[in-house]
């Protein structure tokens, strides 16, 4: 099985700023990490490789410094990484981002043993759209919110195409599904606890050669890339008003606590909540 894991580099803090003109994030000067939810996709891929062999390839689209995310993925256990970077990619929405990722997956090659694993969503953009959108560009099946994954039996006929057995977490339970490969999954935290980078992994990561693919390598027309190619546009940004005036009561002893609890119940009553 070959696992391809698109990851995203995100700002470490929540104090990032936005460019008021373009409505996109200013990432300069903020420490960057692998999107924490992507670590679960990497871990799921490593475990599939341990059980069934194959390789794990990490992909990321971003500025040239996003290569550090790929080195970190290699330090954790990825066999190799590919950076997707080009000036024309900047400011992409999920449509334009998934287009680039799809072209990269295609360039890596898709066969009956290929599984693309994505995090549920990125904690900065918080859309969860890129995984399903990537599948749609590639015209592959997609299963989202996957909490468990295993390779299934090859269907009768012996076409060489694989299949995986999945559990999908929904609002009211777990769907049990079988998906033919090639395919795309997005995984949730439940799937496995991510491992830490190892010393040997870190050494390998430092030495790893990481190719960079841009617009030319991917053969993408400029009009579908970056901000210019994005169907959606941020038109304005506003700080949400913090209008809650907290009624805060100190309750250092039992009597004060009884009074505070009574006041809370009266407060809830006024709001028709009890």
């Amino acid at each position: 099985m070959r696992c391809i894991v698109p990851i995203k580099q995100v700002p470490e803090t929540n104090s990032v700023k936005m460019d008021e003109k373009t409505g996109t994030m200013i990432r300069d000067g903020v420490e960057a990490i692998i999107n924490p939810l992507d670590l679960y996709a990497l871990e799921a891929a490593f475990r599939l490789r341990e059980r069934h062999g194959g390789e794990v390839v990490a992909l990321t689209m971003g500025p040239s410094k996003a290569v550090t995310a790929l080195r970190e993925a290699i330090a954790m256990g990825a066999d190799r990484g590919v950076l997707l970077s080009d000036k024309s990619f900047a400011g992409a929405d999920t449509w334009a981002t998934s287009r680039v990722l799809a072209a990269a997956v295609q360039r890596l090659g898709i066969d009956g043993q290929t599984l693309v694993l994505c995090g549920e969503r990125a904690v900065d953009g918080d859309t969860g759209q890129t995984g399903p959108a990537l599948a749609s560009w590639l015209d592959l099946p997609v299963v989202t919110y996957v909490s468990s994954i295993d390779e299934g039996n090859e269907p009768a006929g012996g076409t060489g195409a694989g299949c995986c057995r999945l559990e999908r977490l929904t609002e009211d339970g777990y769907e049990l599904l079988e998906m033919k490969l090639p395919g795309v999954v997005t995984v949730v935290k439940e799937i496995a606890a991510p491992r830490l980078p190892t010393l040997r992994g870190k050494q390998r990561a430092r030495a790893a050669e990481i190719p960079c693919w841009g617009r030319d390598e991917l053969g993408l027309p400029p009009e579908c890339l970056g901000l210019a190619g994005s169907p959606t546009r941020v038109v304005s940004l506003a700080r949400p008003r913090v209008s809650r005036a907290c009624e805060k009561i100190a309750a250092p002893d039992a009597a004060a606590m009884r009074a505070a609890a009574a006041r809370l119940v009266a407060f809830l009553h006024d709001r028709h909540l009890v």
């Binding site: 936005m18 940004l237 949400p240 505070a260 909540l273």
Partner: protein, 338 residues
């Protein structure tokens, strides 16, 4: 129906076992407001099999001008490829100018897959939707960067303008007895029913309360100190008719399972009432609950960040606060608010 230029606005209906889910009624509130502003026809479009006739009529009572059900036994459960194939055909046929869905596990999967096939943009998890009076375009407002900023987004030149809407971010559209919408049942083309995913079973969640849809939530944080500390929180939740949620800390320590996690790396919730017990209010957690109607916090630290976002706070020990609150609650509320 006062429609001009055959404009259509669509909302995606959701069903389970043939019964229309209430989240559809919330979308009708959004859709009706947009359709009235645009002078457009409001349609509910849904996939399923043998969808309940009364439920479909109820969608008319709640503001739909038309209900289009695409039905086949293969559509009884959500299947991204099949639902997309059915809907893309209808999108191409009728060219809606706006198509919105709930940001549920179904909506958040189907809409991005469909948007690529329809060659259009999509905005996730909106909390506000309105029509720009100047351009007539859909203004899609959503929290960005952890809820610190609200971004307003437009899809200027692609159609339909697509968005998912955060569940519980609006009230369900009221029933207007006597109001009716046209009901249309369609069969999909056979080639729309191909899929490479097969459903082999279903394991229902052991606890029925899904926190993303819960009307009331009691949330525990690190302040409960150990797994046994969950017990008082559960008692309060039971008394309030609330679901139980936890911070990332509470889940990482194994006190609650992942589906209960609230925050950026868990669920985003918007209940009428949120009660945080021993929750400090990490920004990642705040981002997942700050749209709650009323926020109550109990924490020993008077400077806990959560108090800045709360309507009511008790500075004190949750193990003393919970019994005191339960005692103060009127006895009737235990019965009436299930």
């Amino acid at each position: 129906m006062n429609t001009q230029n055959n404009r259509e606005i669509w909302v995606l209906g959701e069903q389970r076992d043939g019964r229309v889910l209430p989240v559809t009624h919330e979308l009708l509130t959004r859709g009706r407001a947009l359709a009235d502003t645009r002078g457009a026809l409001l349609s509910v479009v849904l996939c399923g099999d043998a969808i309940d006739e009364r439920d479909m009529a109820e969608l008319g009572e709640r503001g739909a001008d038309r209900v289009v059900a695409i039905e086949a036994p293969e559509l009884v459960h959500f299947d991204c490829e099949r639902y997309t194939a059915c809907l893309i055909e209808l999108v191409r046929e009728r060219d809606p100018e706006i198509f919105i869905a709930a940001a549920t596990t179904t909506g958040r999967t189907l809409m991005p897959y469909l948007a690529i096939k329809a060659n259009t943009g999509l905005t996730a998890d909106c909390t506000g939707l309105e029509i720009d009076p100047q351009t007539g375009l859909l203004l899609q407002t959503r929290p960005a960067i952890g809820g610190n900023v609200m971004a307003t987004i437009r899809t200027p030149s692609h159609r339909p303008q697509m968005a998912t809407v955060r569940p519980r971010s609006t009230a369900p559209a009221p029933r207007m007895p006597g109001r009716a919408g046209a009901i249309e049942r369609r069969k999909p083309k056979a080639d729309a029913l191909a899929s490479r995913v097969r459903r082999t079973g279903f394991i229902p969640r052991e606890e029925s309360h899904d926190i993303a849809e819960a009307d009331r939530i009691v949330c525990v944080g690190r302040g409960v100190r150990k797994a046994e500390g969950i017990a008082p929180a559960r008692r309060l939740a039971e008394r309030l008719g609330a679901a139980i949620g936890g911070t990332r800390d509470a889940v990482d320590r194994g006190w609650l399972s992942y589906p209960h996690q609230i925050g950026l790396s868990g669920k985003t919730v918007s209940p009428t009432l949120y009660v945080g017990l021993g929750v400090s209010g990490a920004i990642q957690h705040i981002a997942g609950m700050q749209t709650a109607g009323t926020i109550v916090a109990v924490n020993t630290d008077p400077d806990a960040w959560i108090f800045r976002f709360a309507d009511f706070g008790i500075v004190g020990d949750l193990f003393e606060a919970v019994p005191a609150i339960i005692e103060a609650l009127p006895a009737a509320s235990a019965e009436g608010k299930k």
